[in-house]
């Protein structure tokens, strides 16, 4: 596409401003408006308007609906037919049926022919309200009616069993009319012929209807629902009635923290799998989260321990890049302390340091979860404290906006330069928790604000602070990650900060950060907030390279087999390395990223050897061997590390290559950073009860860490040793 000039009335200009064009078109428009101030103004205005539109439209009320209750079903006598099986939450069969019965009672009692109020027509609302109003007169003590504004009729009926039985709350005036006959039939067939006493005495009729609807619900829950679930979901008998019942009453106390299952990377043989490819990971959340458990005197769940996040929690003293490349690689190899016959290879990347004065301007949009679940000392109050720390570190030209989300999303602070610090601090002060969580709407709004205030050549970032408990709106992980992925294309990066305990959704948050070109930290205390947001502000918030992938080629003449320690959920296919469409991790200014390989040299007989595979039938025999002999002659190298990365705004990657020769160093002679990283990996293996831990014990971890302590700026390494001791105490 070649556009020399674009007129302001071109729809593509709007599409461009909203980030809806594909890469090629985007480049073309960018070129066309480069020297066109009018078009640029238009784009800026459209983006600003877009933020306002989202904010304004977010204020439009969502219709009130009751939480889903799984109750309805066709009469039990009908043969089961999955497709006709109506199991719709807001049918609220019990309540509806009861209301109808009550209505019928009154109708009969007054001997008024109400047949002209056709039940089959959509006049049920009028009927409800009229009849219930009459009932109210007769039995005020039993029934209270709360009519909200038009279209939101909510009827509260008191119940004798509030815990065991949902109270009917018609979610909206119109009930599904086609179901009425069914429902009435259900209730009437389920009860003995009604006596006149029941009919004439309103208070009892109310009680009676409760029992009836309760019975119906019970029967349905016990018998029909699992079948219905099987019909819908295709997994027969997977859900018990109790499970459904729990789900119907909301999310209380039954779902706690979630971690994805992680299986250690295993040994791979260097002939069959000479390439090992993975994405870097600068997240540190797993370590901070484990610290929280250990400080509570608990062992962290195995699956919550991601060794690479443990190792990467600590800064290491790798040499910074000398030239313009965004990072340098420093590699080291020595014997593995937990198995001296094995070699331990460290690949260390160090992102270019950006002095505070040269840091690009920040356009930050805080997206804060202010839902009820955040109302704990370690959550929202800690968020607010973290933000104050950050604000103190920002420059007057940096901008901060605050979007809050709970039941509805809203803009708590429009994008404001730090030169108006008091305003920012005031907005932080006013934040308070309450409501349920609609994360998706908030994410949408936050990205729109970020885009509307986009700083070219600056660091544009949404900072999500949450316990990850998205309970309304888009909570489906697939949809949520898709939303984030789409937003990530706009050039706005994402930082996810996890807060709090219990209900903590580690897996959701890590994925969000991952998909959103972002990083993920866990804030368990004020010191951690300070580390992430003040001491390592640039590392956390300024990305210097994105989609950083590492591919290691092992020399089979030297290496029998190898395993990557950690990075289990960051593994890539070897083809992905050169595929720029495949997303990978980001590295921040001054960040260090460390990867460790445990390598079994060719001349070592190790129990860690992988089970052999049958020789290949169709490959020429010995061909690999003869090739190997040649390669070994040519190269003394143990392995070569290839790194691909993109500059933050680029779509094409660049490649760096670093070979490594093993000098045969012993662990005792290794650098302090090497020893400390090995200690951290060993600790991770202990907590994961890894089969690869060799001779590692908590005591040996302490020994290696002690040797690798160094000067320990920030005291992180000393804290590590305290944690190891705590873990030892718990295990002992």
């Amino acid at each position: 596409m070649n556009i020399s000039k674009i007129i302001p009335d071109d729809p593509r200009l709007t599409a461009y401003a909203l980030g809806e064009l594909d890469a090629a078109e985007q480049v073309a428009i960018e070129a066309a408006i480069k020297d066109d101030p009018a078009a640029q103004t238009a784009v800026a205005q459209i983006r600003a308007l877009s933020g306002d539109l989202s904010a304004a439209l977010a204020k439009e009320p969502l219709p009130f609906v009751v939480p889903p209750k799984i109750e309805a079903a066709p009469p039990a006598r009908e043969p089961y037919q999955p497709r006709k099986f109506i199991r719709f939450p807001f049918y609220l069969i019990g309540g509806l049926a009861a209301a109808c019965v009550v209505a019928m009672f009154v109708v009969q009692k007054q001997e008024v022919t109400r047949r002209d109020i056709k039940l089959a027509e959509a006049k049920t609302e009028a009927l409800y309200q009229k009849e219930l109003a009459k009932l109210e007169e007769k039995s005020r003590s039993l029934i209270e009616i709360e009519l909200k504004k038009e279209g939101e009729g909510v009827v509260h009926l008191p119940t004798t069993k509030p815990e065991s039985e949902p109270v009917a709350q018609p979610s909206a005036p119109a009930q599904p009319r086609q179901n009425l006959p069914v429902l009435v039939a259900d209730v009437t067939t389920g009860t003995p012929p009604m006596s006149n006493e029941v009919i004439t005495m309103a208070p009892f009729s109310v009680e009676a209807r409760h029992e009836m609807s309760f019975k119906v619900t019970q029967t349905l829950a016990g018998t029909r629902l699992p079948a219905g679930i099987a019909g819908v979901g295709g997994s027969a008998g997977a859900a018990s009635p109790q499970a459904w019942a729990t789900a119907a009453y909301g999310r209380h106390d039954f779902n706690t923290e979630t971690y994805d299952r992680q299986v250690d990377n295993d040994y791979l043989d260097a002939i069959g799998n000479p390439l090992s490819t993975f994405s870097i990971d600068v997240d540190t959340a797993s370590y901070a989260n484990a610290r929280r458990f250990l400080n509570l005197g608990q062992r962290p769940p195995q699956d919550s321990v991601r060794i690479e996040e443990f190792v990467n929690y600590f800064p290491y003293h790798y040499a910074a890049p000398k030239d313009a490349t965004p990072f340098s690689a420093s590699m080291e190899v020595a014997s593995a302390p937990w198995n001296p016959e094995h070699r331990l290879v460290r690949i260390g990347l160090k992102g270019r340091e950006i002095p505070e004065a040269e840091r690009p301007a920040l356009n930050l949009v805080f997206l804060l979860d202010v839902s009820g679940s955040m109302n704990e000392p370690k959550k929202l109050p800690l968020v607010k404290e973290s933000m104050r720390v950050l604000v103190e570190k920002l420059k007057p030209t940096d901008r901060v906006a605050i979007v809050v989300y709970a039941g509805d999303s809203g803009l708590a602070l429009p994008s404001t330069p730090i030169s108006q610090k008091q305003e920012v601090l005031g907005a932080i002060e006013e934040l308070s928790a309450g409501g349920s969580t609609n994360g998706a709407m908030g994410i949408q709004l936050a990205y729109d604000i970020a885009k509307a205030n986009f700083i070219k050549d600056g660091a544009n970032r949404v900072v999500l602070c949450t316990d990850g408990d998205f309970n309304i709106g888009v909570t489906n992980q697939g949809d949520l990650t898709r939303l984030i992925e789409e937003k990530a294309k706009s050039g706005v990066f994402l930082t996810v900060l996890g807060f709090g305990m219990s209900n903590y959704k580690d897996s959701t948050l890590e994925k969000l950060a991952d998909k959103g070109n972002g990083n993920y930290g866990y804030v368990d205390n004020f010191a951690e907030a300070k580390k992430l947001l003040a001491d390592q502000l640039s590392g956390t918030l300024v990305t210097i390279a994105k989609d950083v992938k590492i591919q290691v080629e092992f020399n089979p003449a030297k290496v029998k087999s190898y395993r990557l320690i950690g990075y289990e959920n960051r593994m890539l296919k070897k083809e992905d390395f050169n595929n720029d469409k495949i997303d990978a991790g980001e590295i921040g200014a001054g960040h260090t990223v460390t990867a460790l390989y445990e390598v079994v040299p060719v001349d070592v007989d190790s129990p860690a050897d992988i089970p052999s595979v049958d020789p290949l039938k169709y490959q020429a025999k010995g061909s690999t061997k003869s090739k190997l002999a040649k390669a070994a002659d040519v190269s003394p190298e143990l392995l070569t590390v290839k790194i691909r990365y993109k500059a933050p705004e680029d779509v094409l990657s660049k490649k760096l290559e670093f070979p490594l020769v093993d000098s045969g160093a012993k662990f005792a002679n290794a650098s302090q950073d090497f020893k400390f990283a090995a200690a951290v990996a060993g600790f991770g293996m202990m907590l994961r009860e890894s089969t690869h831990k060799g001779t590692t014990t908590f005591d040996s971890v302490l020994g290696w860490a002690e040797d690798g302590l160094g000067e320990d700026a920030g005291g992180y390494r000393h804290e590590f040793m305290d944690l190891v001791k705590k873990a030892r105490g718990i295990s002992g």
Partner: protein
Amino acid sequence: MNREIPHENAENFVQTAVAEYQSPLLRYATRLIGDPDRAQDVVQDTFVKLMAQPPAVVDGHVAEWLFTVCRHRALDILRKEGRMKRFEEGEMERVSAEEPQPTRSLEAEETHDALLRMIDRLPPNQQEVLRLKFQSGFSYKEISRITAHSVSHVGVLIHHAVTRLRAEYAAQRS
């Protein structure tokens, strides 16, 4: 990162969808039909249809699927009632300007309300795509699949809406 996202448990699938989308769909359907009662029916039909779907079919684009089916149902009803013209072309330039234009400059908290009033004066088809974009967060492509407009037509509709809002907005603020 292209990592596998674990599939939602099949039995939770419809339930989750209802919990997530019931309100937004109802709001959308009410806008289309203009009658909350019928909108409720439409949303209900939409979820009943969802129950008949194997989760794998809609996995990853549940929102889009629901909005598409919901819109389809809503238009069926409008068509039956002969109210279809609401959403057809030709009405695009029809502008109702019953409300007086406020002339004084707006306070910050009034801005959004004013914007909402301006949106309400847009032609219905522009309002629809505008809300799908800025309220529900769908992309042009997703909106195109939901509304069966071409992507470029979605672009034109949003462009017209945004251009007009921009002009009115500027006029009000000055």
